[in-house]
């Protein structure tokens, strides 16, 4: 489970990147966070990963305060970034082996890695190819394979589908649904309204560091998400969240 309680980040230059953010992602749930560039989505992920310290509030992973026990909290989370570059001179196997060991998983065989790679839809003939020759979609899949093999109960994804072609995007979504069905808490920061709509159990909209609206899949039924996005991002004045959790 992922949770933020009054999470706030104010930078030294005075910029309030995240302002009293409260949300929770339950196991078996996909939460998609929308927002314009600079709205605080990525900062939220950075705070959850303890890459930056919060000014106020708490970020919790499986109930562990990430600022108090940063290393322990990381046992329970996987991260897939916007543009997974990995080590270009390494093959998929080598990258997977390295990051799996960093995640503390030992004793996995090549067959285990191959299974993980296949599970994300990576073609077998690409396993031994240096990842610098990979397309973005292949790299994203490998990034997800690293998360799959780590098998953490929480997954943070930062713009994971940006730049993916329709087929790769579709495959990627299927994988996320599979992981959700395995009981993982999945937090996705994205601009991709169309794809998010297909998988999100809940969506949130961030504006100037604040969560301005949060809606469940049921609440979204019959609503035009694009319309909603435009309405909240551009017209609606800053306000308290409609459905704070």
């Amino acid at each position: 489970m992922l949770e933020t309680i009054n999470l706030t980040k104010k930078y030294e230059d005075g910029l309030l990147a995240v302002d009293r953010l409260n949300f929770k992602v339950e196991p078996g749930e996909i939460f998609c966070m929308f927002g314009a560039n600079g709205s605080g989505k990525t900062t939220t992920i950075n705070l959850l990963l303890n890459f930056i310290p919060p000014t106020e509030g708490t970020a919790l992973i499986e109930g562990i305060d990430v600022t108090k026990e940063p290393l322990r909290s990381k046992d329970y989370v996987s991260f897939v970034s916007e543009n997974v570059m990995l080590y270009g001179n390494f093959t998929a196997f080598q990258n997977l082996d390295y990051f799996t060991k960093l995640a503390g998983k030992r004793g996995l065989t090549k067959a285990d890695y191959a299974k993980g790679l296949k599970s994300v839809g990576l073609q077998e003939d690409a396993f031994n190819v240096r990842t610098k020759n990979y397309s973005k979609g292949m790299r994203q899949k490998l990034g997800l394979a690293i998360a799959v093999i780590k098998d953490a109960p929480n997954i943070l994804l930062d713009e994971p589908t940006s730049g993916l072609d329709p087929k790769s995007g579709q495959e990627f979504l299927k994988l996320l649904i599979q992981m959700r069905d395995q009981g993982k808490s999945i937090f996705i920061s994205t601009h991709d309204i169309f794809r998010a709509k297909l998988i999100a159990d809940r969506v949130g909209f961030m504006k100037k560091g604040r969560l301005v609206i949060m809606k469940t899949r049921r609440e979204l039924e019959g609503e035009d998400l694009t319309e909603l996005y435009i309405q909240y991002m551009e017209e609606r004045p800053e306000s308290e969240p409609e459905h704070p959790k």
Binding site: F51, D75, F79, F90, A103, K150
Partner: protein, 469 residues
């Protein structure tokens, strides 16, 4: 986990194109420089032996001791076997000095004099390769060690796992350094093999220690740039910025500081020119010659051969007087020259030492001075050699004067006494001992270690606070 990070660092580097390029270039340059250094030493050694033999033959062929005394003997500087690794100042300073009864000896005929174009580019010895080329490679290996991972996104991915930052930086340092050493160690081992198998090159036990200390200094020097690269990489947000900053520091360390130090020392401690000193020596020589010419004329006027005096006895008395007066005159010249040299030497030493100390801020200078000292091709060894020649000059002069005066022939047939060199005093020079060379290089080793610690600590602390976003 540390092992995994180290392994990854090594694996990532050795599979990269820059490693292959570095390895090949290192292998070619190191082997080429050591091989040419050895060949050059071998040829210098042959040249040295030939010059010593020729000098002996030349002295023996002189028609009289007077010719020998004025022509003088030539002292050749023996080449140093470790000059193959660090040629130091040996190629720029003179290799041969003429010791005669009148002129103050100086080392002339440097390699650069023989072929001035060499002085433009300098020697391609191993020290040069390490100082210029390998230090650049050390930068090339580390400029993006941290900031590059940030740009790629792998740093975030790595730290999203249970990886303590201190362990990550330690792994990067160890792995990165091993990767840097591979292209260095293999050609160096091959170079040692060349040194071992090359005919007529023999290294004494002390030379091996000196060589190992030189190699240690190379590693420390490269570690300085390696840790500096990490530090800058951990303080910047773009790898291009990191590279530019490092390039600027490299240029400052390798070229600007050493050159600026020499210029600054020359301004702060000016010394008289060599021509000025030579002019003073010449003026004194002329003054002594005039003075003793008068004394000689007066002597002959005041001590004419008395009637009935035995010619042989009179000539012997004159010879004794002439020898004493000659010894007195040359002793005065030597004393004056020594005093001038002492003063000039003190001023020069003060300037040189200021330049060296100022330039020691740069690890490149510390590398140059330490390897020169260890190879016995440095300024100090040169000064010691020159001092030994100047110390030998009065000994030679005394012997030559005595021989010259005792064999004066008044028969009118000219001096025909055969020149015999059996009792001619020989020039002796004891090269600097290892302990003294080591003592001289301790500040350089200390500086390297200090810089490594400072840069590593800086990189370590910076990385702990590094913004990975």
């Amino acid at each position: 986990m540390l092992k995994d990070i180290i392994k990854k660092e090594i694996q990532e580097t050795i599979t990269s194109a820059k490693f292959v390029f570095t390895f090949l270039l290192c292998a070619i340059l190191i082997l080429l420089s050591v091989y040419t250094g050895i060949v050059s030493y071998h040829s210098d050694q042959k040249e040295f032996s030939a010059a010593v033999a020729l000098n002996k033959k030349n002295l023996e062929s002189q028609p009289s001791y007077m010719y020998l005394a004025s022509l003088g003997t030539k002292i050749n500087k023996p080449p140093q076997v470790l000059g193959a690794i660090s040629s130091g100042v040996d190629e720029a300073v003179g290799r041969v000095a003429t010791v005669n009864i009148s002129l103050d000896p100086n080392l002339v005929d440097s390699k650069y004099e023989s072929n001035p174009v060499f002085s433009v580019f300098g020697a391609l010895d191993l020290t040069f390769i390490v100082k210029i080329v390998l230090s650049l490679f050390a930068i090339l290996f580390t400029y993006d060690a941290i900031v590059g991972e940030k740009e790629k996104g792998t740093l975030k991915l790595t730290l999203s796992n249970k990886v303590p930052r201190d362990r990550l930086i330690l792994g990067k340092v160890i792995g990165g350094f091993i990767s840097l050493l591979i292209p260095l160690i293999i050609p160096l081992i091959l170079s040692l093999l060349i040194l071992l198998v090359y005919p007529n090159i023999s290294l004494a036990g002390q030379d091996w220690i000196r060589l190992l200390l030189m190699f240690l200094m190379f590693f420390l020097y490269l570690s300085v740039f390696f840790t500096l690269g990490l530090l800058v990489s951990a303080r910047t947000n773009k790898s291009s910025t990191s590279f530019l900053v490092l390039l600027f520091i490299w240029v400052t360390f390798v070229t600007i500081i050493p050159k600026l130090s020499v210029v600054t020392a020359a301004r702060l401690h000016p010394i008289p020119s060599v021509h000025e000193i030579t002019a003073k020596k010449d003026a004194f020589l002329q003054q002594i010659q005039v003075e003793y010419q008068k004394i000689a004329i007066n002597y002959t006027k005041e001590n004419p051969m008395k009637k009935g005096e035995n010619v042989k006895e009179y000539q012997d008395k004159f010879k004794k007087w002439a020898e004493d007066i000659q010894q007195e005159a040359t002793a005065k010249i030597d004393a004056n020259n020594a005093a001038l040299e002492l003063d000039y030497g003190a001023k020069k030493r003060s300037q040189v030492s200021l330049a060296i100390n100022l330039s020691r801020v740069s690890p490149a200078s510390a590398l140059t001075f330490s390897t020169m000292s260890l190879a016995r091709t440095g300024l100090d060894e040169h000064d010691r050699f020159l001092a030994s020649i100047r110390g030998y000059k009065p000994i030679f002069t005394k012997w030559a004067n005595a021989k010259m005066m005792r064999t004066l022939d008044f028969s009118g047939a000219g001096q025909t006494a055969k020149v015999v060199l059996d009792d001619m005093p020989q020039h002796k020079f004891e090269p600097e001992t290892l302990s003294k060379s080591l003592a001289r290089t301790i500040p350089d080793f200390g500086l390297m270690l200090f810089l490594i610690i400072v840069f590593f600590a800086g990189a370590y602390v910076s990385f702990l606070k590094y913004d990975v976003r």
